[in-house]
């Protein structure tokens, strides 16, 4: 007993981690730009819900160019001789087929084939990758990489990201002096001498890029883009507008469209990539990966669920509504919904339980409640399954992109 303290506690000022939401490296610019001061939490960071109005920010995505602060995304560097092997064990898709300096959309599963998260894998070389995702994955990555010669680095706080999306985004890049981007196809990566990296990726289904930099370079990058985009309509946007574009583009969000198996308390809440309609991302011919055996069985049995895109009559968004077959059998629920200003349609993503959405696709109705000044009106509104994405504009993939 009475062990002598190695350092006297009185000598140093005790460290204290921040409590509550903390600013991202872009906050010094975003805070004064945010007229509404409408912030939300995203992985412990302050993230804008909107800056001025959701409508104007949404139309800036489809009409001009927008900046969205991606810094709270979790980013992991996977580097070393076994990096390709580790990434291929982690993900269900075959990363050998991904070329250097390309980005791939990916999901990963536990050994029961239930999806843990989705995200993007950046392949720089076969010994250097970056995984970008919504949920923290460091512990899982450590588990997957056990015994392999790789170094895992959590870059979530040292690397920042800005998503620049919209028809004039390429013009902003040009005006900002990012040379050599005209030949970038969707999912291409381009490195610049000053350490900035650009990928032609995004979450809007529109022309757009994501710019990545060290945290110290955040503010100069932001200023450079904003000054170049001054006459091109460039403006910062919040999550609400981005989410509208995201639904139009038909992208899913972990925790919204499906529950990560690492968070689900009920084992039946797990979803395979097949349940999510991501068959194209599961490559059985690449050797072992997490969930392979379970997914082989699942493929044989057929999906238990179907994530579908719905077009719903009327103009009332079907938030959190139930979907019925022939007006009486519950077939599933709406996970995301909006009135799409660009498609001029009432859209939704829905998780249906098999056989609905697979063998039975007709006679679906959505139960929508709307508040009529203190009285709820219930309507059973016809809906039909349509292809994703809802919004598909050729400018998304045009190479070189048009200059405006």
């Amino acid at each position: 007993m009475n062990k002598v303290l190695k350092n006297s506690p009185t000598r140093q000022t005790p460290v204290q981690v921040p409590r509550g939401l903390v600013p991202t490296p872009f906050h010094a610019r975003l805070e004064p730009a945010n007229i509404t001061q409408d912030w939300m939490g995203w992985s412990g960071f302050l993230s804008a819900r909107k800056f001025q109005s959701v409508e104007s920010e949404y139309f800036a995505i489809r009409n001009q160019a927008t900046l969205f602060d991606l810094s709270p995304m979790h980013k992991y560097r996977i580097e070393g001789p076994d990096a390709l092997t580790v990434v291929n064990r982690l993900l269900t898709r075959d990363v050998r087929k991904l070329k250097d300096n390309r980005v791939g959309y990916a999901v990963w599963c536990d050994e029961d084939g239930s999806t843990i998260d989705d995200g993007t894998i950046f392949r720089f070389t076969d010994t250097h990758f970056r995984l970008c995702c919504q949920e923290p994955q460091y512990t899982w990555l450590c588990d997957v990489a056990w015994g392999f010669d790789v170094t895992l680095t959590d870059e979530s706080e040292t690397v920042v990201g800005l998503s620049m999306q919209g028809p004039t985004s390429y013009s902003v890049l040009k005006a900002a002096g990012f040379e050599g981007t005209e030949g970038m196809k969707p999912f291409d990566i381009h490195h610049f001498d000053d350490g900035i990296m650009i990928s032609r990726t995004g979450f809007t289904g529109d022309l757009g890029y994501e710019l990545w930099a060290d945290a110290e370079a955040a503010l100069p990058l932001y200023d450079r883009l904003m000054s170049a985009g001054k006459e091109l309509g460039l403006r910062p946007i919040g999550y609400d507008a981005l989410n509208m574009a995201r639904i139009e583009a038909g992208f899913m969000v972990t925790g919204v469209e499906f529950q990560s198996i690492h968070h689900a308390l009920r084992p039946t809440r797990g979803r395979t990539p097949f349940d999510l309609g991501l068959d194209r991302l599961v490559h059985f011919d690449k050797g072992h990966f997490n969930g392979r055996r379970a997914l082989l069985q699942a493929k044989e049995k057929g999906p238990r669920y179907a994530l579908v895109a719905l077009e719903i009559d009327g103009n009332k968004p079907a938030h959190q509504a139930l979907v019925y077959h022939k007006g009486k059998t519950e077939a599933g629920l709406i996970t995301s919904a909006l009135w799409s200003p660009i498609c001029k349609r009432n859209l939704a993503l829905a998780m249906l339980k098999a056989p609905y959405g697979i063998d039975i696709t007709a006679d679906l109705k959505v139960e929508i409640y709307h508040d009529k000044e203190g009285k709820y009106d219930r309507a059973m509104v016809p809906a039909k399954i349509v292809d994703r994405p809802f919004f598909n504009n050729p400018r998304r993939a045009a190479t070189p992109p048009a200059l405006c």
């Binding site: 000598r11 140093q12 939490g41 412990g44 512990t139 899982w140 959590d154 690492h262 039946t268």
Partner: protein, 534 residues
């Protein structure tokens, strides 16, 4: 007719009071007898030094079943449980580990100590919550009796099996491992960070005569996580006015229902005739008759001390003797003249509002247990220290504080047959105080008064055998239909009309009030007064 009742409850602990409430509300003329001059058993608040109120025994509240609080309208009768946030472990290197309630802050804090463990904590929480979901519905149900296998037992076993099956194949395997694992092995599966593991491991040994590496202690951790404060599962709170607030609100509900409490005389024995209970004899010679008698005392005390020899079968007596109720803990209640300084903590931190520890590693905790086995109190003890007066203004004058320190390990029987009273008790207290003083230079000077309670003190005053806080250890061999004795897990005893309602019965201790409520349900079912027992 003054000494004639429909039902007598022996012991005014929170479970006795709870059972009494349900019986009185069902219309039974109910008496609760209590040996102490005050009520509450181990859920008690007492002012032992003018101006300071101690929660003398139990000190925090989470497991109290909300169903019972609602049934008995305890809120109206004064019960108020305020959740606390935070908690910390002091570290010998001058740092500390902060257990923030804020999820983001906790993730940052764990990352500060171990980047790998930051999101492992989410997986740990998920596993524990899954186990809570499995067990919580069982708390207010009587366990099935596989010895007797009547229709109700088969039905209840099927219910249990169905819930187990609903966990899914992987969880079923994990659950069985979990119930038999040690808390150290369990934590090792998730974490690498020593201070984090040491911080969490305490929940696995509290009140238990086992070490962190002993099989069965993982469940004890779950037992401390399965409570709630207003729907927030796993949260703990302070009862306003100390833990006596729980008993006082129950007593008020009991009296409102027409019940009567006689404090100041314990029972000499249960009066039995032809295998049936007919009443109790008090230690002042009074005899009180009733056809239903409920013992809130632990199973050992009930059947070994207060039932006439020869009344019970040898097998039953043997099973009662083998039920483990081992003393393993001690308690310090301290009146402080002000808030102690903790120089290693950030100024103004909220962490001190929660549970504070100073155990550095699982090994240190295991060594503390080694001393218990040898009949010595731990020289470097585990403690669970709180300052409820930071939240509850009723416990001490403004600026003054009440500190409660739960201490482990303290054996009931000291080596060489030494007495706890006198120098040994003082020396044990000193080992705790000097450990706290390592992290707070002005702590000693602030002590105005202290109450030191060895296992002997707890046994003598509260009546808990060996001072065991759970009326019997919460290991897998003593849970469900094995608690307290196989064949007698449904609150009945071999003596007709004599029931058990203390924490020796399912689902165990921790100020849950579930044993009391479950026992009352069985009694009323036998009397044809209640709903059929589940």
């Amino acid at each position: 007719m003054a000494n004639q009742y429909d039902a007598i409850v022996v012991g005014a602990g929170h479970n006795g009071l709870t059972a009494g409430c349900y019986l009185a509300r069902a219309g039974l003329k109910t008496l609760i007898v209590e040996k102490n001059d005050w009520i509450g058993g181990a859920a008690v608040s007492r002012e032992l030094h003018p101006g300071w109120t101690y929660s003398n025994c139990s000190y925090v509240c989470s497991l109290l079943r909300p169903e019972v609080a609602r049934d008995l309208d305890l809120g109206r009768h004064g019960l108020q449980v305020t959740p606390y946030e935070g908690g910390l472990s002091f570290m010998e290197n001058g740092d500390y580990f902060g257990y923030y309630a804020d999820h983001d802050a906790l993730r940052r804090e764990i990352k500060r100590h171990s980047p790998r463990d930051a999101d492992a904590y989410d997986r740990f929480s998920r596993f524990v919550l899954q186990q809570c979901r499995f067990i919580r519905p069982l708390l207010l149900r009587s366990p099935p009796d596989p010895v007797r296998m009547r229709p109700r037992d088969i039905q209840e076993l099927l219910y249990l099996l169905k819930r187990f099956h609903d966990l899914g194949p992987r969880q079923m395997a994990d659950t069985l491992r979990f119930y038999t694992a040690s808390v150290a092995d369990f934590l090792d599966e998730f974490f690498e960070c020593e201070i984090l593991k040491a911080h969490l491991a305490g929940s696995g040994i509290i009140g238990t005569g086992l070490g962190v590496y002993s099989p069965g202690t993982a469940y004890v951790l779950l037992h401390h996580y399965m409570g709630e404060v207003d729907g927030s599962i796993g949260a703990w709170g302070f009862s306003r006015g100390g833990m006596g607030g729980v008993s006082q609100s129950l007593a008020a509900a009991f009296k409102e229902a027409g019940g009567e409490i006689r404090a100041g005389n314990g029972i000499e024995k249960f009066l039995c005739r032809e295998g049936k209970v007919v009443g109790v004899a008090l230690d002042n010679g009074d005899e009180i008759t009733a056809k239903t008698v409920v013992s809130n005392m632990d199973v050992r005390r009930t059947f070994l001390n207060h039932v006439e020899d020869g009344t019970l079968s040898d097998d039953f007596v043997k099973a009662v003797k083998r039920f483990k109720i081992r003393g393993s803990s001690a308690k310090l209640n301290i009146a402080l003249d002000g808030m102690p300084d903790f120089p290693s903590l950030p100024k103004g931190t909220i962490l001190t509002q929660g549970d504070m520890h100073a155990s550095q590693s699982l090994d240190e905790l295991e060594q503390a247990y080694d001393e218990w086995k040898a009949g010595r109190w731990s020289k470097d003890p585990y403690f669970d220290m709180l300052i409820p007066s930071l939240i509850d203004p009723t416990l001490a004058a403004p600026g003054k504080h009440m500190m409660t320190v739960f201490v482990q390990y303290a054996p009931y029987e000291l080596a060489n047959g030494e007495s706890w009273d006198g120098p040994n008790r003082d020396a044990m207290a000193e080992s705790v105080i000097s450990k706290i003083a390592k992290y707070s230079p002005n702590f000693r000077d602030l002590i105005v008064h202290k109450e030191v309670r060895s296992p002997w003190d707890i046994e003598r005053e509260v009546g808990l055998t060996e001072g065991n806080i759970f009326q019997g250890e919460l290991t897998f061999d003593q849970l469900l239909f094995n608690r307290p004795v196989p064949g007698y897990a449904q609150y009945r005893s071999p003596i007709k009309g004599l029931y058990m309602c203390g924490s020796s019965t399912h689902p165990g201790g921790g100020v849950m009030a579930a044993p009391g409520a479950n026992a009352a349900r069985e009694i009323l079912s036998d009397l044809g007064r209640g709903q059929r027992a589940a």
